[in-house]
């Protein structure tokens, strides 16, 4: 099942939704506000905010958090309504079929982009025909159960047969399993769990040894379990620094990245097709973890108004405070920086894509 809607933490998102609702009621901005000066493009308009996840899923909560802010910050104070497709591919297709009138925006996650990138069956949308508005980055942490024999990164190599559990190979799990494959320490992958809660229970039961969560969830919810030894963090996915180089996750400056973990185990810097594929996926996985899009062929003034609205939003101290709870204290990507990340995704080499597809269909029976 392709969902993997757990890249953002459910609870911090819920908190954000509640906070957003209150913020809005106090601002009174959810309804159409008074139009100023020469009528802005969005004055008196209604925006459909298409979201590909199910109720309460990561993208859904993120969209519901953002909706009142879009209404408040975009010139003309449009009404914003979230529409939920409950499935990532159906959601993408739904948005792709909307008219190019500028009245529809879309929130994607890594689990919307990955099926598109790999050309999975049923995908009728094309990110190359869309205009990116904003990117909300997020990293991830791979950790092991306190019950397993692994006490350090070096121990990983000494204990082949450790079990990693996940939901589906083409989802938020892809980065984690690719990272563990690259480390080449004989981890066994068991896919089919019913989401994060089932996996965490299995970790407590000792059925699983290794798992991953987003950096935000890790800091919010797992820190107490780290303190009492139930969980041992191993390495972070890393983050994208200057010149698309892998650097330490700004949320977890003390934790080595997967590249450092590789060096600890193998004594040299990572290289080869796994590393190329991992680097290829990084912009998609980290920078565009949640991203806002419009159709490229909608009116220029609509795109300009939306871009300006998000820029204004990011400059708003109140928004910054609310969204730090929501997405973690990462920088929001806009404008040129964002375009570069999107270009990096669009320019992933065909060899890398072929390599990923070959691996996923050979090891995980994925069909494309």
């Amino acid at each position: 099942m392709i969902s993997g809607e757990r890249i953002l933490t459910r609870r911090s998102l819920l908190r954000g939704v509640a906070a957003g609702a209150v913020g809005v009621s106090s601002l009174g901005a959810f309804k159409v506000g008074p139009a100023l000066s020469a009528t802005p493009f969005y004055a008196g308009k209604q925006i459909r905010f298409d979201c590909p996840s199910k109720n309460g899923g990561g993208s859904d909560l993120a969209a519901r958090f953002l909706a009142p802010w879009v209404s408040k910050e975009v010139d003309g104070n449009p009404t914003v309504q979230v529409f939920n497709a409950k499935n990532t591919i159906i959601g993408g297709n739904t948005f792709a079929a909307r008219p190019a009138d500028g009245l529809a925006i879309f929130i994607s996650s890594a689990s919307t982009q990955l099926p598109w990138l790999l050309g999975q069956q049923g995908v009728n949308y094309d990110f190359k025909t869309w205009h990116p508005v904003a990117g909300f980055p997020l990293g991830g942490v791979v950790y092991t159960s306190g019950k397993s024999k692994v006490k350090s990164i070096a121990d990983l190599a000494k204990n082949p047969g450790l079990v990693y559990g996940g939901e589906s190979a083409v989802s938020g799990d892809t980065t984690a399993i690719l990272a563990l494959k690259m480390l080449d320490v004989g981890v066994k992958f068991v896919m089919g769990y019913d989401g994060q809660n089932a996996e965490r229970t299995a970790l407590m039961q000792g059925e699983l040894d290794i798992h991953y969560d987003s950096s935000n969830t890790y800091l919010d919810e797992l820190k107490p379990q780290v303190a009492n030894g139930d969980i041992l963090p191993l390495f972070s996915f890393g983050f994208l620094g200057e010149g698309n180089k892998l650097v330490r996750d700004p949320l977890l400056p003390d934790l080595p990245t997967v590249a450092e973990a590789y060096k600890t185990i193998h004594g040299k810097d990572p290289s080869g097709p796994d590393w190329d594929a991992y680097q290829g996926l990084m912009p998609l996985r980290f920078i565009l973890n949640k991203a806002i899009w419009m159709r490229n062929d909608c009116p220029d003034e609509a795109k300009a108004a939306m871009d300006a609205g998000f820029a204004k939003m990011v400059a708003d101290a109140e928004f910054q405070k609310a969204r730090t709870d929501q997405f973690g204290p990462y920088e929001v990507f806009l404008g040129k920086q964002l375009d570069d990340a999107v270009a990096a995704v669009n320019n992933i080499s065909p060899q890398t894509i072929a390599y990923l597809k070959d691996w996923l269909s050979r090891d995980f029976q994925a069909t494309f």
Partner: protein, 497 residues
């Protein structure tokens, strides 16, 4: 302990908190009566309102709502054969035939009273179980969960009346229908016929309404009659309460089953309700013959477990922070928003024990309030079963179609509703049992998922785990017991001739 419990109760009776509780219960009753809407939807609607409230108020509002959706769902299940929530589907099997006999009041009375008792039992068990639940939950890993789903599938055999072959085939068909959409474990889609709508699988509310509700509506309209075949209502709601008291051990057994099954994340409330129904059919006197034809005990069993399962779901939520159901996931989020850190601290008298007790009392009070409300309405509502189909059913049809369309708001919702309506109608006409179809459907995904994970993780070793062997023993005993009993019944019937 008693002192703390009393003070928690008095906290709940403070005006601010009590208003929230009443509000929650009212909303829960309304949500329960709407087909297709359940606790998860209710929780997500109410979530924004808890910001800035005290944890006690939030608990009263959210759990007051969540605890009672199953109670009011009995109205539609019994009176018109439309499932209000997933948990009320087994209630239809015997409750609706009772309404057809003119005994709607009795069935409703029994349903409300037994779900109240189940809810109260669940609340008490919650407090008693929290300190000892950890090893139980940790002992039930994926292989054991798979065996539990097998036990659920074995219920098909117990529920079948008439041809065992037809019943089994219906169960298998249910399994196939449940496999539509994304496969667990591998990124593959099945039986979607390149229709994108089906990628998400068949939604349970649509399936249940199509199979159970539409055929009844069609037959009522075609037959120019009301739900009740007799002109007068017999058997009052008070009779229903007497029935429940008469079957108090059945209530207890089903409440225990409901609480324990839902305590394990991965076994949902609907599964527990079917297990209760099947267990009751097998164990009560003469149950194998009368269940399905309007036996009051067939109403009492699933209703006793339905509200108990709400408490069961709370055990892993409060103990590990692992929600056992969709609505619990949102409830857990709400607790986090309010700064309540769940875990062992929920049992610590110096930390959150008082909140745990507030939760338990909320479940108790919500169940009592809901039952009082439903019970006082039941006299009036049961008269609905006397109204002719031509007058009543257009309204029911509108509700059913609106509820179906609200599931994903795509054309597919309505197409599938009609499709399953036709299938359900054919099954009804042919006398093929419909519950096995539904059980197969409900368990398909879990059974496949657990089997894949168990064999990927453990190879074939999982077959020899003690927990697996224990459940397998129960399974074998259940199956042979029912075969043996059936044979004895046939021999007796032959001897009587």
């Amino acid at each position: 302990m008693l002192h703390v419990a009393a003070s928690a109760l008095s906290v709940l009776f403070m005006p601010d908190n009590f208003i929230m509780l009443v509000l929650g219960v009212g909303i829960g009753l309304m949500i329960g009566i709407m087909p297709g809407l359940g606790g998860t939807v209710g929780m997500s609607i109410l979530l924004p309102f808890i910001y800035g409230r005290s944890p006690e108020q939030a608990i009263a509002l959210l759990l007051g709502m969540g605890a009672v959706t199953n109670s009011s769902a009995s109205f539609t299940a019994i009176l018109v054969g439309v499932p209000g929530t997933a948990g009320s589907i087994p209630t239809i099997v015997d409750g609706y035939p009772m309404a057809q006999r003119g005994e709607a009041g009795r069935a409703l009375g029994a349903a409300f009273f037994s779900s109240m008792l189940g809810g109260i039992f669940g609340a008490v068990t919650l407090v008693a179980l929290l300190p000892i639940a950890r090893p139980i939950v940790l002992a039930l890993a994926t292989p054991e969960l798979f065996m539990m789903t097998l036990l659920g599938l074995a219920m098909i055999g117990l529920l079948v009346r008439g041809s065992a072959l037809v019943g089994t085939l219906m169960g298998v068909l249910g399994l196939v229908l449940g496999a539509v959409g994304g496969a667990p474990g591998a990124p593959v889609y099945r039986y979607t016929f390149d229709w994108l709508y089906l990628m998400n699988g068949v939604p349970l509310p649509i399936f249940a309404m199509g199979i159970f509700a539409l055929p009844e509506i069609v037959d009522l309209l075609a037959g120019h009659r009301a739900v009740s075949r007799s002109r007068a209502l017999t058997g009052s709601r008070w009779q229903g309460i007497k029935d429940v008291i008469h079957n108090k051990y059945l209530v207890l057994r089903c409440a225990i089953l409901g609480t324990f099954c839902t305590m394990i994340p991965g076994i949902g409330g609907p599964v527990a309700d079917w297990l209760s129904y099947g267990m009751a059919k097998q164990t009560v006197k003469g149950g194998t013959e009368t269940f399905g034809t309007g036996d009051i005990r067939g109403v009492i069993a699933p209703e006793s477990s339905a509200n108990a399962s709400e408490a069961g779901n709370l055990v892993p939520t409060l103990l590990f922070g692992i929600p056992g159901s969709g609505s619990m996931a949102i409830f857990l989020g709400a607790l986090t928003i309010l700064g309540v850190q769940v875990g062992p601290s929920m049992l610590d008298p110096n930390a959150n024990l008082n909140l745990t007790l507030v939760i338990a009392w909320t479940l108790v009070l919500a169940n009592v309030l809901a039952t009082a409300a439903c019970f006082s309405l039941s006299g009036l509502m049961s008269r609905l079963s006397l109204i002719s189909g031509e007058t009543l059913m257009p309204f029911v049809l509108v509700i059913v179609f609106t509820a179906a369309y609200d599931t994903t708001r795509q054309w597919g919702d309505l197409i599938l509703l009609l499709l399953f309506g036709v299938i359900g109608w054919i099954m009804k006409r042919m006398g093929w049992p419909r519950p096995p179809l539904l059980i197969g459907f409900v368990l398909a995904n879990a059974a496949e998922r657990y089997l894949i994970v168990a064999s990927e993780r453990y190879g074939s070793e999982w077959l020899l785990r003690p927990g697996v062997l224990a459940i397998a023993a129960v399974l074998v005993l259940t199956l042979f017991g029912s075969i043996f009993r059936e044979q004895r019944r046939l021999r007796r019937a032959a001897a009587a001739q």
